[in-house]
């Protein structure tokens, strides 16, 4: 028993370090994809102090729109642009119909509203595009780089590398867009206090529309990448919940936190699955992340990079 938990896994790592590196790399790469989903949450959390329950539904809706348009014979690039425009449209509607009447309400009310948006988008997307599983092939083969593998003995998947590049570019753009300057400050201001934000002339509605649009476009990217791994289907909306432990680790308000949290969860769960899976009887990948998050909550509830909550009584 003890041996299976403590001794064997490290012996395995020691015996074949190359295999360990492979596991680690594939874990990190799926971590980047978790981070991408988590980013959508962070954006909206930063701008409204609310956990956007609908992020998963937005991922699904965006991916469905993209695949649906493509199947109708639209050029994939055009379909990509049209889907992005659709997500911006969704942001406009959300702001106009849901958020605007709720200015100056408690965060919990916004949270409930996002649950409503979830149900609507889930249903609406599947009403338009149908609910069967659609394969999505974006032309990046799901196979290792053979030349590299022969040279180094490491098998690294082409699709994973592509996904990592896309995510890194998006993350870098967003980090630039939302930190340090006027926009970042305005976002935090809006999240803190609507009334005060209005009084200094921050256009609340514009900020919300921008943030939801960006979250929608990030959702589109996440939806396409995950969709081509798993097929575009209802379960995509559930991937979003893997972003929860990522956020708890990284802190809800931090873009770098989302990325590092994603990497830790991604690599952690792959390594745990491969080396400790047998000891637990397999399939620990499914719950490992949540347990890590739970333990993390005990010691650092604000996350690695979250803002520490200070309350003066």
């Amino acid at each position: 028993m003890m041996q299976a938990f403590i001794f064997d896994p490290f012996m395995m790592m020691y015996d074949s370090p190359l295999f360990f590196v492979e596991v680690l790399v594939s874990g990190l790469m799926s971590g980047v994809m978790y981070a991408l989903v988590a980013l959508g949450f962070v954006l909206i959390f930063k701008a409204s102090g609310v956990f956007n329950f609908a992020q998963g539904a937005m991922v699904l809706f965006a991916a469905l729109t993209f695949v649906g348009l493509w199947e109708l014979g639209v050029n994939p690039w055009l379909a990509l642009i049209l889907s992005a425009v659709t997500m911006i449209g969704v942001a406009f509607c959300v702001e106009r119909i849901v958020l605007r009447p709720l200015v100056n309400q408690d965060p919990i009310i916004f949270f409930m509203a996002t649950i409503g948006i979830t149900y609507f988008l889930d249903g609406f997307g599947q009403t338009i595009w149908g609910s069967e599983v659609r394969p999505l092939d974006i032309g990046i083969p799901n196979e290792p780089f053979m030349d590299f593998a022969e040279w180094s003995g490491l098998y690294i998947n082409k699709f994973d590398v592509f996904a990592t590049v896309v995510c890194s570019v998006l993350v870098a753009l967003l980090a630039g867009f939302f930190t340090k300057t006027k926009i970042g400050r305005a976002l935090r201001a809006v999240a803190d206090d609507h009334q005060a934000a209005l009084s200094v002339g921050i256009p609340l509605k514009t900020i919300w529309t921008i943030v939801w649009s960006v979250a929608g476009i990030v959702g589109l990217a996440a939806g396409i990448l995950w969709g081509s791994k798993l097929g575009v289907q209802f379960t995509l909306a559930l991937i979003a919940f893997k972003a929860l432990p990522v956020l708890i680790l990284g802190g809800f308000t931090s873009i770098p936190g989302a990325i590092i949290g994603g990497l830790i969860i991604g690599s952690g769960e792959k390594i745990a699955e491969v080396y400790w899976g047998d000891a637990f009887g397999g399939a620990i990948e499914d719950w490992f992340a949540y347990v890590v998050a739970l333990i993390f909550l005990l010691f650092r509830p604000q996350g690695l990079f979250g803002e520490k909550i200070i309350e003066r009584v």
């Binding site: 630039g176 300057t181 609340l204």
Partner: protein
């Protein structure tokens, strides 16, 4: 030195505001002139804060008109009000609690930062220069309000008196023409009140800002204001210089109560 009171900056004309059956304001008229320190007083629930909310566009009155800088409006919009130079502080300090003093005051500069998103995102060239210029302006305010030592402190951690000062700083950062202060001295000790009075008068004097304030401390009101308007149950009871208002019988009755026999 006698200060020069200028033209009418803002005038409210027969403003009425109701929430369902509750009449918060009934037929209120007054003018605020440039460079004036204008006080709104009255017992609790008299509609003073509602009046400020109407002026900066949080509430939209059912009747009446607001004329600001010569433009007639049925109602102000809060974003327009901010851009047009109306800044305010709140009765229950409304700061961005997780942010530092500096960042809080910097939010007041947002309407003065014109560079587009692209430059903002790169944090390069013009946007960077703009950030620096605005930072300099904010540093002047920090110095003026004597809060250098708490520049980097998250405001949630500051004592109440300092929070009020930071809130004033944020309003000043907007370079307002009209500054609305909702009970700027509430909950302060005498020293803090004296400091606050000094700041209010200095702002009025140095920046030439028109100030409209709500205050319960009559000593303060009588000392610093040029003109006082008295509200009670949403109606205007009196208007005039501090001395005139002090001698007005209806005002005395409203504050002290009248015997019914």
């Amino acid at each position: 030195m006698e200060k020069k009171i200028g033209e009418v900056l803002l005038s409210v004309d027969h403003i009425s505001l109701a929430f369902g059956g509750v009449k918060a304001l009934t037929d209120i008229c007054f003018d605020i002139r440039e460079k004036e320190v204008f006080a709104i007083i009255g017992p609790n629930g008299a509609g003073k804060t509602s009046m400020l909310n109407v002026i900066n566009g949080f509430y939209h009155p059912q009747e009446g008109e607001i004329t600001y800088k010569g433009v007639h409006r049925k109602q102000m919009k809060s974003h327009d009000a901010a851009v047009q130079g109306i800044a305010r502080t709140f009765q229950n300090v409304a700061l961005f609690k997780g942010m530092s003093t500096l960042d809080n005051i910097m939010t007041g500069r947002i309407i003065h930062m014109k560079r587009n998103m692209f430059w903002q995102a790169c944090y390069l060239g013009p946007a960077r220069k703009e950030e620096m210029e605005n930072r300099e302006y904010v540093e002047d305010i920090i110095e003026f309000l004597e809060i250098q030592s708490i520049r980097r402190t998250p405001v949630g951690r500051l004592p109440y008196g300092l929070q009020k000062r930071v809130e004033l700083g944020r309003a000043l950062a907007m370079e307002p023409d009209l500054l609305l202060l909702d009970e700027p001295m509430a909950g302060m000790n005498i020293e803090e009140k004296q400091d606050m009075c000094r700041f209010v008068l200095d702002v009025n004097d140095q920046y030439g800002t028109t100030i409209a304030l709500i205050e319960h401390d009559m000593g303060v009101v009588m000392d610093i204001s040029d003109k006082v308007v008295v509200l009670d149950y949403g109606k205007k009871l009196a208007e005039g210089t501090p001395d005139e208002v002090r001698g007005n019988q209806t005002v005395i009755d409203a504050y002290l109560g009248v015997p019914h026999n």
